[in-house]
């Protein structure tokens, strides 16, 4: 992920040590020590880190941070600020078993809803969740691009297993264009960037409902358009199966052998929901089951998109194995799984 960020033109990192993302903090520090154009702060806490990347972005830098569940919670206010002020930046969240300190080294997918609704207020974030080391590189670059295009903080999810995974990757073969910064940095104009509801000139309009609505629908539309450029997912169909299994991240890797018996769908863009794609694909299947390392967070959203019941297979506690997935499927589907 760090290499992807550099490739995308990142030149500012602020962060705080937290498992499983501390390695990114250290890589950033080492980079800054060698390259004076790359700026680094080890912040006093995640709140400072999240606010620092907002300031850095306004000053013209491509900024990012990396954290995990509890740190992600601390950053929520700043994420909302990034949406309100329209600031491009990237926040990496390595999910782990929670709540609170939980199991720092154990993988989970318990922040799916937090990545969508974690901050106060209405906003429309773009969230990606890669499923391999190669995709971590690729989707970091894409996240930076989506951030510049949407002028919003893009969330890049991972999990403790994906963050601890080493794979052979040919970085040279992954070539993507990078989107440049468009907005002039601080120190060039007489603009106001404020967290208060504001008009196009940045003037606070804290008693004007129309201004808020205009801003909200404008940003929702813009983020929807940008997200539509990346309707990324992986589908491995199966004509013999009447059941579609939906999973993401490390869970999808672990259950990949089930592709011989089931159809598999893996969303890579988590938000906005891949509603159109899901509806098209799910039509062919009698049963939809969502296997995830949480208590049905993505499943509940799939149900809303499809307007039909979805079988939930939660894998909790950080033990993510094919055996546990099969057991859970067996229980939920009520039949044997090979």
């Amino acid at each position: 992920m760090f290499l992807g960020a550099i490739e995308a033109g990142a030149n500012f990192f602020a962060g705080y040590p937290i498992t499983p993302s501390s390695e990114i903090l250290v890589l950033a520090a080492e980079r800054a020590a060698k390259d004076p154009s790359f700026k680094f702060i080890q912040s006093e806490d995640e709140i400072a880190a999240a606010n620092a990347i907002m300031g850095a972005s306004l000053a013209g830098a491509k900024s990012f941070t990396a954290t995990a569940g509890p740190g992600f919670s601390l950053m929520q206010e700043a994420i909302g600020y990034g949406h309100q002020v329209e600031i491009p930046t990237v926040i990496i969240n390595g999910q782990r078993v929670g709540p609170a300190t939980g199991m720092p080294t154990m993988p989970a997918q318990e922040d799916i809803l937090q990545s969508r609704y974690g901050s106060s207020g209405d906003y429309f974030p773009i969230v990606f969740y890669p499923g391999s080391v190669a995709e971590c590189y690729r989707y970091t670059i894409i996240s930076f691009n989506a951030a510049e295009e949407s002028l919003s903080p893009v969330i890049l999810l991972s999990d403790a297993f994906l963050s601890h995974l080493n794979e052979v990757v040919d970085l040279e073969s992954i070539k993507l264009e990078t989107v440049p910064r468009t907005r002039p940095p601080l120190g060039t104009g007489q603009r106001t960037f404020t967290g208060l509801t504001h008009d196009e000139e940045g003037r606070a309009r804290t008693a004007d409902a129309k201004v808020h609505r205009q801003w909200y629908y404008k940003t929702k539309e813009r983020n929807t358009k940008v997200a539509a450029k990346y309707p990324d997912f992986e589908l491995s169909g199966n004509k013999q199966s009447d059941t579609l299994l939906i999973s993401s991240g490390i869970v999808s890797r672990v259950i990949s052998p089930l592709g011989s018996e089931f159809a598999l769908f893996r969303p890579i863009r988590i938000f906005p929901m891949l509603g159109t794609e899901l509806r098209q694909i799910a039509d062919k299947y009698k049963t939809i089951a969502v296997i995830e390392a949480n208590d049905g967070q993505y499943a509940s959203l799939v149900e809303t998109e499809l307007h039909r019941d979805v079988v939930r297979v939660p894998i909790l506690g950080g033990r993510i194995t094919l055996e546990l997935a099969k057991e859970g499927l067996k229980q939920s589907l009520g039949r044997e799984v090979s």
């Binding site: 297993f161 601890h164 995974l165 080493n166 794979e167 259950i255 990949s256």
Partner: protein
């Protein structure tokens, strides 16, 4: 093509062993996935590495049943393997006192982990030249580690028992009726 699990506790070198092996295999042209699964404690708690190497793409990086498992401590549970080689006292299959061999031959217990790596490579039939091995090892203690891996690789039947025997002899030294009293060498 294979699935290897290295299971130990924090500080025993699970990462160094598995990362060296993974690098080696990647250099040989395999697709490799190496997954670390460990507890939130710096020393003394579970640390496991799942290493899979294939010619083609790897799907599930979490091993259900390994071809070989190297077990350096007893902190992890629920791991399965067709063959297990372990530190003395941890299984009934193939026990080698890596710690003892490390001290005997290289002066420090910790070199036992490189000896274990050599044994693992031998059991998995991973044949490489010394040059390929040297390229995969970490830079610190490079020479000693290289010797230790080769030592482990070439361990013969009689060596496997020697470790246990010398340890039993040591135990005999301490079995006196007066606690704290050392009996002279038998």
């Amino acid at each position: 093509m294979g699935k290897i699990i290295v299971s130990g506790e924090g500080g025993q070198g699970v990462r160094v062993i598995s990362h060296t092996l993974a690098t080696l295999l990647a250099n040989l042209g395999y697709q490799v996935s190496l997954l670390y699964d460990y507890d939130s404690v710096v020393r003394g708690a579970m640390s496991v590495a799942h290493l899979i190497y294939e010619k083609g793409a790897i799907g599930n990086p979490v091993i259900g049943e390994a071809d070989i498992m190297l077990k350096l401590s007893d902190k992890a549970h629920g791991l399965h393997a067709i063959k297990t080689v372990c530190q003395t006292g941890l299984c009934t299959e193939e026990e080698i006192d890596f710690d003892e061999l490390g001290i005997e031959n290289f002066g420090k217990e910790i070199f036992g982990n490189m000896i274990a790596l050599g044994r693992l490579m031998s059991l998995a039939h991973i044949d490489v030249s010394e040059k390929e091995l040297a390229a995969a090892l970490p830079l610190k203690y490079h020479e000693e580690n290289l010797s230790a891996v080769l030592f482990g690789y070439h361990l013969k039947e009689e060596d496997l028992h020697r470790g246990r025997a010398s340890r039993t002899a040591q135990e005999a030294n301490f079995s006196s009726d007066k606690p704290g009293e050392l009996k002279p060498d038998a």
